[in-house]
């Protein structure tokens, strides 16, 4: 079936006419050119394709675009324009969180999801908050530190 699906993408109303079973990941990357959302596993295990749906963290490789009808989607491209997003990105850069970088946009989205629920997370809470985002380069320590740094620098933002 071909259907027109309307949703909010990075604060803009958008519509796409396509098979509702098409993966949201493919729609974001190929139809909207939002390449910051990465594919690394295609089975919801790694978090590289994370975005926010109505403010909640989801992996877009498991979501048919038909399921986002009427929803609000925020990708890294939207998040990086916000004060919160900028704060996290800067903290990641300063804290040494970025190596190969492939998992990082998804990690930034996961950090936003965490901080929006818990502005001052402990180390354990941060580790739990990013447990669905696999990284093979960093061993996570500097990502955890960088999220702590974002939380400190972004006092009042969340």
């Amino acid at each position: 079936m071909i259907d027109e699906i309307r949703f909010t993408l990075n604060n803009s109303e958008v519509a796409i006419t396509c098979d509702p079973l098409k993966r949201l990941l493919d729609v974001l990357r190929e139809d909207f050119g939002l390449f910051g959302t990465k594919e690394a596993c295609g089975e919801g295990e790694c978090g590289a394709c994370s975005v926010l749906m109505n403010g909640r963290l989801i992996t877009t490789c498991m979501v048919p675009v038909g399921a986002v009808k009427g929803k609000e989607i925020m990708t890294i491209e939207g998040l990086r324009e916000t004060e919160r997003g900028k704060t996290i990105i800067e903290a990641f850069a300063d804290g040494g969180a970025v190596q190969c970088g492939f998992c990082i946009p998804g990690m930034v989205v996961a950090a936003e999801s965490l901080l929006s629920r818990n502005a001052k997370p402990t180390e354990d809470e941060i580790r739990l908050g990013i447990a669905g985002n696999l990284c093979r380069c960093t061993g996570y320590d500097l990502i955890v530190e960088s999220i702590k740094l974002a939380s400190e620098r972004g006092e009042g933002l969340w």
Binding site: R29, L34, F35, G36, T37, K38, E39, A40, C41, G42, E43, E45, C46, A48, T75, I76, E77, R80, G85, I88, I89, E90, F92, A93, D94, G96, A97, V98, Q99, C100, G101, F102, C103, I104, P105, V108, E123, I126, R127, L128, I130, A131, G132, N133, L134, C135, R136, C137, T138, G139, Y140, D141, L142, I143, V144
Partner: protein, 711 residues
């Protein structure tokens, strides 16, 4: 003059673009008229291809295989050895071997077509394990003994010592496959450009790719232009393996005249890519009545899989690290790489050293326990020091600061107290390991084989471009080298650019492997920058190029493997503490302490990140990353839901220390470190778990179900 950035932590030059999602990786590239490729692969471990039946192809779709290699072209991929075929032709040696590509505009149609290709085989009996390979199960397919290589190195007289020794300890240690799991899967795009071809590829070694594939279409290297895309992790998995994509794609671009893209999905990247060599290391170790090791006889076998590619070189490094960081007066090490019908094993962070280092550390821990002394006591007695003779009868030229490093991790971890307090089998344990990694290519490889060159171009706006083939793959080299060059020139980092390598533009600084980039390429770049500074004229364009010079006085004979295998080593010490759950035997890691000698850190934060990541990968190797053969799918675990790598919850945050021990020939005293940091944590972890359960562990990985069966 501005303050130097060397040593201090700097914001990485690539960090913001990557974190904000601006950076384009290979899967984000599109070109006009680009078509897609999907691989048709072998589905049996060993057999003769009797027939390949292709469905009727719609217009715009083609099947590319060995038949499409033009006259004069060779169906081979040059990966140190040239035995790896580009397209299986006649026989297949493992599941997942490339038979052909189906190419065309729609990926859904391509998937349907691939599903309809029928290959008929005459199947043969196949070998999976090292034992299968050595027994020539199904008949040898390499030489007469299935060994790609077999060599022995001697130091002193082992046989004499064994004849008169007080005690001999014999043991066999095994390690399994490991998958790289770079988060970005393998991917490449081949396309014509003028009368040449361009390969855009996620890879460590653009010049390797060019060299590997040019002969497929019988062209000189220069006709193949390789442009490295930003590479989302590699760990050795993108050293030679990108050739397996680039080769067939080049033929496809040659035939179709179009840009052809191939991006592996995770299932393909897991099931059908190279792995770390499984290993079997057997020791006979003689100990005198004072508890000193007097001789070691070591037999190392690596499972190389279906093709040799770089296994001989991997094995050499394994053999040269087989007696660890210890001065063993007499040693004999035999190494063999055996052919089996599994996906070829290839480079993986550590390049053969992690297997033997794990083995020797584990073996020494067991000897110590049987002697009734702490493993640390036994190990420190034999620490290598400056002037000592190495396993290849070369020398240690640098000051070895292992005693200080040991003290650091002992103090931080409380090792000695804990080792006494936690009784064997008490479900609490602490373990310790020491390790090293020889920097750069083995022996005189830098001088004889690589001959690295570095080119710097000063532009008229007084900015400087670093034009070399060395690559950033996450390890931080782009930033480290920018710092070295900017520092030498006395200009700000923002005035130095280090673009993605393009083989038609940059000089060949050698492959980005072997922990050689900072140590070797960094030193040449520093020298180049010094020369550029001397010639500096504002507003004028200048180019300088320098090449590698080998320090005098480090003899090496590549035919006998005698002499100085490495000039400088990185060194490491690691302590791990664990608790084993009494109900489920799940292991909880309670502490990770490490100390590393990397000469001098060009950037402390980058080194810190490498240590964290290397240790996490090494712990995954020991604890959870189980990869089994499957006669149906090649490997049983083919995705991230069943091949288990660590999450943020699996290991606690690490305590890392660095010692300053500047290396004479490195830039600012820096040595290699990317692989070193992988080489030792697995042994410390297994030592800790062994003590916690009160049983000797001789094989990794050890998920809880295996521990429970041991207990």
């Amino acid at each position: 003059m501005q303050q130097t950035s060397i040593g201090r932590s700097t914001r990485r030059v690539d960090a913001i673009a990557k974190a904000s999602g601006h950076t384009q990786y290979i899967a984000d590239y599109t070109f006009d008229g680009m078509i897609y490729a999907k691989m048709v692969r072998s589905t049996v471990p060993r057999g003769k291809i009797l027939d390949i039946s292709i469905p009727v192809l719609p217009s715009g779709y083609s099947f590319i295989s060995a038949k499409d290699i033009p006259e004069g072209g060779k169906n081979q991929l040059h990966m140190i050895k040239t035995d790896y075929t580009c397209f299986a032709d006649g026989e297949v040696r493992f599941i997942g071997e490339t038979i052909g590509l189906v190419v065309g505009p729609d990926r859904g149609v391509l998937q349907d077509l691939v599903d309809q290709v029928k290959v008929t085989y005459e199947e043969g009996e196949y070998a999976v394990t090292i034992e299968d390979g050595l027994a020539c199960k199904g008949g040898a397919f390499v030489g007469e003994d299935n060994c790609f290589c077999d060599f022995t190195i001697n130091k002193g007289d082992v046989d004499e010592i064994f004849a008169g020794s007080d005690r001999v300890f014999e043991e066999e240690i095994n390690t399994g496959w490991q998958e790289h799991v770079h988060l970005e899967t393998n991917g490449a795009i081949a396309m014509p450009e003028g009368d040449k071809f361009v390969i855009h590829v996620s890879a460590q070694c653009p010049f390797y790719v060019r060299k590997s594939i040019a002969s497929l279409i019988n062209r000189p290297y220069e006709d193949i232009i390789v442009r490295q895309s930003v590479t989302g992790g590699a760990f050795g998995g993108k050293e030679h393996f990108p050739d397996v994509l680039a080769g067939p794609l080049l033929v496809a671009a040659y035939v179709t005249g179009k840009p052809v893209q191939l991006i592996f999905d995770r299932h393909e990247d897991s099931a059908y890519s190279v792995k770390r060599h499984p290993s079997r290391t057997r020791f006979r170790t003689a100990v005198d009545k004072d508890g000193n090791i007097t001789a070691m006889d070591v037999d190392v076998v690596y499972n190389a899989g279906g093709y040799e590619s770089c296994s001989y070189v991997v094995l050499q490094r394994g053999v040269f690290h087989a007696t660890g960081v210890y001065n063993i007066p007499n040693s004999r090490v035999r190494g063999r790489a055996v052919a089996t019908n599994t996906f070829p094993s290839d480079a993986f962070r550590g390049f053969g050293a992690p297997q033997t280092l794990f083995a020797v550390e584990t073996h020494l821990a067991h000897i110590a326990t049987q002697l009734g002394i702490d493993p640390f006591e036994l190990k420190k007695r034999h620490f290598l020091k400056k002037g000592d003779v190495t396993v290849t009868n070369g020398h240690i030229y640098e000051t070895v600061v292992l005693p200080e490093m040991a003290q650091q991790v002992l103090d931080e971890s409380g090792y000695l107290e804990k080792a006494k307090t936690y009784a064997p089998g008490s479900l609490r344990g602490v373990g310790i390991s020491f390790y090293n990694h020889g920097g750069a290519f083995t022996g005189n490889g830098e001088q004889m084989i690589i001959k690295a060159r570095v080119r710097l171009r000063k532009n008229s706006d007084d900015t400087v471009d670093i034009l070399i083939g060395s690559t950033e793959m996450g390890q931080g080299f782009q930033t480290a080298l920018t710092k070295i060059v900017a520092d030498e020139l006395g200009i700000g980092l923002e005035r130095v650019r280090y673009p993605q390598p393009d083989t038609s533009v940059v000089s060949d600084s050698g492959p980005t492997v072997a922990s050689r980039s900072t140590m070797i390429v960094g030193a040449i770049a520093q020298r180049s920058a010094a020369r550029l500074r001397e010639q500096w004229v504002e507003g004028k364009e200048l180019v300088v190029e320098e090449e590698y010079t080998h320090p005098e006085g480090f003899p090496w004979d590549q035919s006998t493997f005698q002499g100085d295998a490495y000039i400088g080593y990185g060194w490491g010490a690691c302590v791990i503490e664990v608790e084993v759950d009494p109900l489920t035997t799940e292991v909880n890691t309670k502490g990770i302490w490490s100390s590393h000698d990397v000469g001098l850190a060009i950037d402390e934060l980058i080194v810190h990140g490498q240590i964290n990541g290397g240790i996490a990968q090494s712990l995954g190797y020991a604890a959870m990353e189980k990869l089994d053969f499957s006669a149906k799918t090649g490997f049983k675990q083919t995705g991230l839901s069943d091949y288990i790598i660590p999450t943020s919850m699996d290991f606690p945050s690490q305590v890392c220390t660095l010692v300053d021990n500047p290396y004479e020939f490195g830039p600012h005293g820096a040595k290699g470190m990317g692989e070193l940091v992988f080489n030792g944590a697995s042994a410390a972890y297994i030592d800790a778990v062994s003590r916690a359960i009160g049983k000797e562990i001789r094989s990794i990985p050890v998920p809880p179900e295996i521990l429970m069966e041991m207990m």
